[in-house]
């Protein structure tokens, strides 16, 4: 397929700059006779390893870790202890160090299960401080303040690796790591991470458990820090607590931010600029602390996407100047595009005695409601009547104070939103929640999270079956995009899309889940009459394909057109429920909308 071929050649073209950097680093020791340069290059390359791990945690998942230095220390000490004290080889010690540090990283993120995300920054900071005092406390194991000395170099057979060989080893590690991280980022896991970062509630509604995703990110970041620590230990030949100060942790954060968070190249650019440069210009080294602080401040305010981001922006502007802009008119929607069949029978919902209050505001006061499977069930009512709260209780983004919720035959009164997504419930939000910095195609693919099977190992190694699964889903996503008239913009960033089309993208993402129950929160708001008509047709088509639709909507005309059943809410209470003509014609409902008759 030409599609595949294009991506192939694109991939080769994109790989060129990387290969150039890699080759330059690899021949450096052959060209330069100065051993300091080789030493420095090795250190920098190790920092890239650690920075790449932090990029997963901070860049892609949005978790600020101030404990990266401590994790590197764990890896370095594990390697040092095993090699210097127990005579292990590097090849045996390094994997152990990686596993141990991945464990330490996961441990550090455990509070993520219960706490909101900024706590992570301070918890990791505290963990870093505690780790340092532990290093000193367990003197017998770690050598206390004086640290561990006499860590041998890695050896192949009886030949110990020299300075140059070590650099090449680190470069090999970098290449392997780079490919692995690229595989993760460009997969359901990567999309899930970004969803956790950009819109946690949306993440849950497509089946991503934010806490589990953060743990996974910390395990990845921990493993890479452990690898970096192992390499650092054999590179220096000794480890001391003073190597792992808070500044060391902040260095990595800075490297990621300055290079460009959530960009593969970020840590590489950042390390070159922020570590190698001052190291070479010795005059700058003295001012490093001030430079760290000022650079972080300025970058975060003026260039949060870092150098890689600024470069992309510049290039986009340059390209737009040369290539004629795509036609402004959207492609006509291709109504014949088929939506895949739902994952199973349509799901009904039954609520009994559901109450929900926010402080003194009673949003729902004892709702009893049965939503029949396979129908379009509209929920209408004036502002503040509890419609969205009801939808949130059904989708489990909110937990009711009292009452029961049944999904099909299953009691989900205590279930989480992510579990419901796995059962086949999808959601369209009132204000679009998208991955702004990802392509339209990736946004739609995110919808398939719950039914895609590739886990961590299959993703990292790109196993053939995972690759096939992905290719099938891409075809499906492109078909959905075409069905919504978005095919031509499939590779553009979602943030660049106008509001109306962002909504369509949300719908496409929800359909990508092949839902058995679709919850839509005011999908008609802000649509033109033509778009409205298309939406009506779409909703009916979704129902006819065998999906229950719950529609919260203000647009009475749309409701009258598509709904099989209409429920009217007022101030948290159910007014009436029935066929559209009946329910909307009810005297109480007319009064609600038009005021009491004179």
């Amino acid at each position: 397929m030409s599609e595949v071929l294009r991506t192939r050649s694109d991939g080769v073209r994109r790989a060129v700059p990387w290969l150039v950097v890699l080759a330059a680093a690899a021949v450096l020791p052959l060209v330069s006779g100065d051993p300091t340069i080789t030493y420095l290059a090795t250190t920098a390359a190790i920092y890239v390893v650690v920075g790449t791990g932090l990029n997963i945690m901070f860049g892609y998942t949005g978790q600020v870790s101030l404990g990266q230095g401590a994790l590197v220390a764990v890896g370095a000490y594990a390697t040092g202890i095993l090699m210097a004290d127990h005579g292990w080889t590097f090849w045996a010690a390094a994997p152990v160090a990686v596993v141990v540090t991945a464990g330490a990283g996961t441990l550090m993120a455990l509070p993520a299960f219960r706490l909101s995300s900024w706590y992570i920054a301070l918890v990791t900071l505290g963990a870093a401080m505690a780790a340092r005092s532990l290093l000193v406390e367990f003197e017998g194991l770690t050598g206390g303040w004086s640290g561990l000395i006499g860590i041998p170099r890695p050896a192949i057979g009886s030949r110990e690796l020299g300075e140059r060989d070590l650099l090449w080893l680190v470069l090999v590690v970098n290449v392997v790591l780079f490919v692995m991280v690229r595989n993760i980022v460009d997969s359901r896991l990567g999309r899930a991470m970004m969803a956790v970062r950009d819109a946690p509630e949306m993440a849950r509604s497509v089946g991503v458990g934010p806490a589990r995703m953060k743990l996974f990110a910390f395990a990845c970041g921990g493993a890479t820090a452990g690898m970096g620590g192992a390499l650092l230990a054999v590179h220096h030949g000794l480890v001391t607590p003073d190597d792992f100060t808070l500044d060391f942790s902040i260095l990595f954060l800075l490297v990621v931010i300055i290079g460009g968070a959530a960009r593969l190249a970020g840590p590489i650019i950042g390390t070159l600029l922020f570590f190698a440069l001052p190291e070479l210009l010795t005059g700058l080294a003295e001012w490093r602390g001030l430079i760290y602080g000022a650079a972080l401040l300025v970058l975060m305010v003026y260039a949060p996407q870092g150098i890689a981001g600024a470069w992309d922006k510049l290039r986009a502007r340059f390209w737009r100047g040369r290539v004629p802009a795509p036609a402004a008119a959207p492609d006509p929607a291709d109504d014949t595009a088929e939506v895949g069949p739902p994952r199973g029978e349509p799901l009904g919902v039954e609520l009994s005695g559901v109450r929900k209050s926010f402080g003194g505001v009673h949003a729902l006061r004892g709702i009893d409601l049965a939503i029949e499977p396979g129908k379009v069930h509209a929920i209408v009512g004036p502002n503040g009547s509890g419609k969205t709260t009801l939808l949130n209780v059904i989708s489990r983004l909110l937990r009711q104070d009292e009452g029961r919720v049944l999904l099909g035959a299953e009691d989900v009164s205590r279930a989480t939103a992510e579990r419901l997504a796995r059962r086949g419930v999808a959601r369209v939000f009132q204000t679009p929640r998208l991955l702004g910095a990802s392509s339209l195609r990736d946004n739609v693919l995110l919808g398939a999270y719950a039914r895609e099977r590739a886990g961590g190992p299959a993703t990292v190694l790109r196993l053939p079956w995972a690759r096939r699964e992905r290719a099938d889903l891409v075809v499906e996503a492109d078909r959905l995009l075409a069905g919504h008239g978005l095919a031509r913009r499939a590779d553009e960033d979602a943030a660049a899309l106008p509001h109306g089309e962002q909504r369509l993208l949300e719908v496409a993402r929800a359909l990508m889940a092949r839902p058995r129950l679709l919850l839509m929160d005011e999908p008609a708001a802000g649509l033109t009459p033509r778009e409205l008509e298309a939406l009506g047709r779409l909703i009916r088509a979704i129902r006819d394909a065998g999906t229950t639709v719950v529609l919260v909507e203000h647009h009475i005309e749309l409701v009258a057109n598509v709904a099989d059943v209409v429920t009217v809410l007022d101030r948290g209470e159910l007014v009436t429920s029935g066929a559209p003509e009946e329910a909307l014609g009810d005297a109480r409902v007319v009064e609600l909308y038009l005021g009491a008759p004179a």
Binding site: F58, L125, G126, L297, M300, T388
Partner: protein, 291 residues
């Protein structure tokens, strides 16, 4: 032994509680937890220890220190908080910028002052000489520190019930909504930063005689203050003071029964344990977010 632990716990816990109250004051209108709070407190202590301000009569000196730290905090609000909140492109942006500001302060302090810790005498008539009453050993200064912490909780409580406090709550709940009611969130943010800075200055002044003033004291206070904040519940001034006392006591017990070097580990472990059991803090109310 147990009495000693309790006294140390109450005294240092009061400091941690004061640090956490500073977090609370700044958090109200901005939802920002200030990572530079520890360094602001350090400035307060160092102004007393290493500048001519320390030579002034104590009452005047305290006012001067509080004013200086308040101005530094206002500068932080201008360069490190408001700009990122306005361009909130990254949800964690303020974590990075306030941390960056703290690095700048630490670096500047390191260049201005020696890294030699110095003692600061408590104001007359208080002293750090130990008295013994019924087997409990404490100094008059320690009593004063605990009393000040309690007084600050009460004052902040009064402030909370005033018009200003109501406006702050409105801004915290809905920034744009508050603006529609004629409340200026920016002005309130600035006032909160001045107040929070003054509180940090006071905390530094109080801490100096107990901890030895040094340019590196900020980080430890930041982390322990955070622990008190997390355990006590964000926004809850009484809660954080009680949490400070609990954690201070745990820390003192750790130093006494395990080893002095392990106290930060013990404190950290205690915090994690409490949070795993009660994620919203000791008295915390669960807050559910809307969609």
């Amino acid at each position: 032994m147990i009495a000693d632990i309790l006294v140390a716990g109450l005294v240092f816990g009061s400091l941690y509680g004061l640090v956490a109250m500073g977090f609370n004051v700044l958090h109200r209108p901005t939802n920002v937890v200030n990572f530079a709070q520890g360094e602001l407190i350090m400035i307060g202590a160092m102004l007393m220890a290493a500048t001519p301000i320390g030579g002034l009569p104590w009452g005047i000196a305290v006012v001067c220190v509080m004013a200086v730290v308040a101005v530094v905090t206002l500068a932080e609000e201008r360069v490190a908080v408001t700009p990122v909140l306005r361009r909130s492109s990254h949800a964690a942006g303020w974590v990075i910028t306030t941390l960056a500001f703290s690095l700048l302060i630490a670096e500047a302090a390191g260049r201005l002052w020696t890294d030699q810790p110095s003692t600061v005498a408590p104001p007359w008539p208080l002293s750090i000489d130990v008295n013994e009453v019924a087997g409990v050993r404490f100094s008059s200064y320690q009593v004063a520190v605990v009393a000040v912490a309690v007084a600050v909780v009460l004052l902040l409580g009064l402030l909370d019930r005033s018009r200003l406090g109501t406006a702050l709550r409105a801004v915290a709940a809905d920034r744009d909504g508050a603006r529609l009611r004629g409340i200026d969130p920016t002005a309130l943010t600035r006032r909160s930063f001045l107040l929070g800075g003054a509180l940090a200055g006071l905390t530094g002044v109080l801490a100096a005689p107990l901890l030895l003033a040094s340019v590196t004291m900020g980080l430890g206070l930041l982390i322990k203050g955070f622990a008190a904040l997390a355990v006590g519940g964000i926004g809850d001034n009484r809660g954080v003071l009680v949490a400070g006392w609990v954690l201070g006591t745990v820390e003192a017990a750790g130093a006494a029964y395990a080893s002095p070097g392990s106290q930060s580990v013990v404190l950290f472990a205690a915090m994690l344990l409490i949070l795993l059991i009660r994620p919203n803090g000791l008295r915390g109310l669960a807050v559910q977010r809307h969609v």
